[in-house]
Symmetry: C2
Subunit: 342 residues, 2 copies
C-alpha cells in the first residue's frame, strides 16, 4: 500500500476538489490509500456528496486552515492545528505514510517541509520543481528551483540538476533528460560566478545529460526537459511566463470587445482561444514537487480542479513507487564520498 | 550643438536604417549633429540614396564590424578598427561629443563602454535599462538592470534605482516615477539577502518614490514606472516576456492555419493581431540606455527599423539636453558624503 496524506484545505475550491481528486486517484491506483486531513465534519459532508466506495480512505481532524496571505514561517509555528501542519506532523511521525499533497500556501508548505520533514541524506537544500508546457507537442519542461531556495551555492544548483533529472526520468518517463542551465547567454563563459562554477560541475557530471546554457527566451521552445536555476531567477521566469500569458489574453479580449468586426472573428476562434488558454495554464501539468525532502511533498496550484488535484496525487504515487528518494540518497551520498567539496 | 556618434554597422539592416534614422532625427532637432562611423564608401552610397540636405553630418571611416556572435571582451580588444570601437574612441577623446548610438552586439557595447568610457563619478556600476510596454494605455516600464551587471551588491542596486528614476523623469517626463524592487513576493521580508538589504535602503531614500516589492507576474500591468533588479534576473525577466510573446503568437498562427474555420475568423482579426504584435515588440519603445556611463550610450534593438533608430538618437539627445549625467553625479557624490557605506 502507498499511503498519501491529503491536506484538504487551503485551495480556492477546497475541500471539494481535494476530495474529488482523491476519489479519482483511488479509482486509478488500487494500492493507494489516502488520509484526508482537515475539518472532519466538512470532509464528511463532502464525502457524502460523492459516489464512491472505498475502504482506503481515513480522516484525521484538524480544525484550522493556513491562508495564502499569512506569513509562512509564522503560520507554520503558530497554526499547529491547521490541516497542513497536522498533515506534516502525521507524515513525520508515521513511517507508513509516503507523502503529502497540498494546494495551500506555497511558502507554508516549503517552510513546514524544510523545518519538520527534513532532507534526503546528502541533499544540501530542497528545490521546488513545477512543470511548464512547451510548444513541442506533448512536451513539458521542469524548472528547478522555482523559489524554495533563493540564495544558492554552486553545490546546491548542481544537486538540483541531479534531483530534477532523476525526477523527470522516474515520474515522466523521460530517458536521459536534457538539462540546461538558465543563463544570460548560451556561451560557456557567460553569467555570474555562480553560473560559471555550476557550468563546470555539470559539464563533468556523467549522471546528467547537460546540454549547456539556455536563455530565458527559449524556455517554451521545448528543446530541453529540465532547466536548472537559483530559486530567485527561476521564480522570476515562471511568474513572467504566467504574467505575460495572462496579460496577452486580457489584451486580446479587450481588443476583441472593442469592435463588432473583431467580435465576429472571435466567434470562429472561440474554441481555439479556450484551448490555448488551457494549454498555457500550468496547473494542467500537475503540481510542483519539493525535491530533496525526505518524504514526497507535492504542491498543486491553489486554483486546482478535480483533475489537476488527482494528477498531484498521481505524481506523489509515482515518486514513491519509482523509489526516487532512496536513489537520490544513494547518488548524492556516493558523490559526497567521491569528492569532498560536493 | 549636441553631437552624437552613430555606429552605422552591427544591426540586421545596417547601415540603411542607421542612416535613415539619423536623417529623421536631424530633421527633428535643429541643434543636433551626427558623426557617422563605419565603412566610408558604404555610408556615402547609402547617403546618396537619401533625400536630405544637412551640413550637420560628418563621416569617420572604420572598415571593420563586430558581429553579434563574437565574444564581446575579445572583439573589443582586437577589433580596434570596427565601427563600434572607432566610435567609442572618438567619444572618449573628443569632449565635444555627447554620446553614441549603436544597434550592434549588446555585450560588446557594454564591455566597450565600461572599459573605455568609464563611469559618472560616484557610480559603482553601470546599468542597462530597456523600456517595455505595459497594458496601461501609453505607459511603459523601465527595467534596470537588464544584464550589464550580473553580480550585484546592495549599493549597486540602490544606485540603479536612483539612476533609473532620474532617467524616467528626464527622458520620459514621468513625475516622481514609481520604483519597485523585483522580488519573489511582495512582502517586505521576502527574497534573498540582497533584496532584503536593498529594500531597507530604498525605503529610507527620499529621492526615490519606492513602492515596495513587485513579483514578475505583475510587470506588464503597468502599475510602476521602473523595476529594479540585478542584471541576471532582469535579463531573465525581459527575455521571458519576449520568448513568451513570440511563442504565443507562433502557437496562434499554427492553430489558425490548422483549420478553415480558424482561417476565416483570423481574417477579421488580422489587423488586431498585427497591432498587438507591434505593441508587444519592445524595439518600438526606443533603445536600452547604459545608465551611469560618463557619456550617453544608447543600444537599440539589432532589428531596429528607421523609426526606432531615430528614437534611439532622440533618447540620447534628451539625456544630454536633460543634463542627466551631471545631476546623477551630483546626487551620488552627495550620497557618498552623507553615508560612508553608500
Amino acid at each position: 500500500m502507498v499511503k498519501i496524506v491529503i491536506d484538504c484545505f487551503g485551495g480556492d475550491n477546497s475541500p471539494g476538489v481535494n476530495i474529488e481528486g482523491s476519489i479519482d486517484a483511488l479509482g486509478k491506483y488500487k494500492d493507494l490509500e489516502v488520509v484526508l486531513v482537515g475539518d472532519e465534519q466538512k470532509i464528511k459532508d463532502e464525502l457524502a456528496k460523492q459516489n464512491y466506495s472505498s475502504d482506503r480512505i481515513s480522516i484525521v481532524h484538524a480544525p484550522d486552515v493556513i491562508g495564502c496571505n499569512e506569513k509562512p514561517t509564522e503560520a507554520v509555528r503558530k497554526k499547529k492545528d491547521s490541516s497542513l501542519m497536522t498533515g506534516i506532523r502525521l507524515l513525520r511521525e508515521d513511517d507508513s505514510l509516503a507523502g503529502l499533497v497540498s494546494i495551500g500556501s506555497t511558502g507554508a508548505i516549503v517552510a513546514a517541509t524544510t523545518l519538520r520533514i527534513g532532507r534526503v541524506p546528502g541533499v544540501a537544500r530542497p528545490t521546488l520543481c513545477p512543470m511548464l508546457p512547451t510548444m513541442k507537442k506533448g512536451k513539458i519542461v521542469g524548472v528547478c528551483d522555482s523559489g524554495a531556495t533563493v540564495d544558492c551555492t554552486p553545490v546546491q544548483l548542481y544537486q538540483f540538476a541531479i534531483m530534477g533529472s532523476l525526477y523527470m526520468e522516474k515520474v515522466f518517463g523521460v530517458k536521459s533528460p536534457k538539462v540546461a542551465l538558465l543563463n544570460v547567454g548560451v556561451e560557456e563563459e557567460k553569467g555570474d560566478e555562480l553560473r560559471k562554477e555550476v557550468y563546470q560541475m555539470l559539464k563533468n557530471e556523467p549522471r546528467v545529460n547537460f546540454v549547456g546554457n539556455m536563455e530565458a527566451r527559449d524556455l517554451l521552445k521545448g528543446d530541453v526537459d529540465l532547466v536548472v536555476c537559483d530559486g530567485f531567477s527561476g521564480n522570476v521566469m515562471c511568474k513572467t511566463v504566467e504574467g505575460t500569458a495572462i496579460e496577452m489574453f486580457r489584451m486580446m479580449k479587450r481588443d476583441i470587445m472593442s469592435s463588432l468586426k473583431h467580435k465576429i472573428g472571435a466567434l470562429f476562434l472561440k474554441k481555439m482561444f479556450a484551448k490555448e488558454r488551457a494549454f498555457l495554464d500550468y496547473q494542467n501539468y500537475g503540481g510542483s514537487v519539493l525535491l530533496g525532502a525526505s518524504k514526497v511533498v507535492v504542491k498543486g496550484h491553489g486554483s486546482s480542479n478535480r483533475t489537476s488535484f488527482a494528477k498531484c496525487i498521481e505524481q506523489a504515487y509515482m515518486m514513491e513507487t519509482g523509489n526516487l528518494n532512496p536513489e537520490l540518497s544513494k547518488i548524492l551520498s556516493e558523490k559526497k564520498e567521491d569528492n569532498g567539496d560536493v
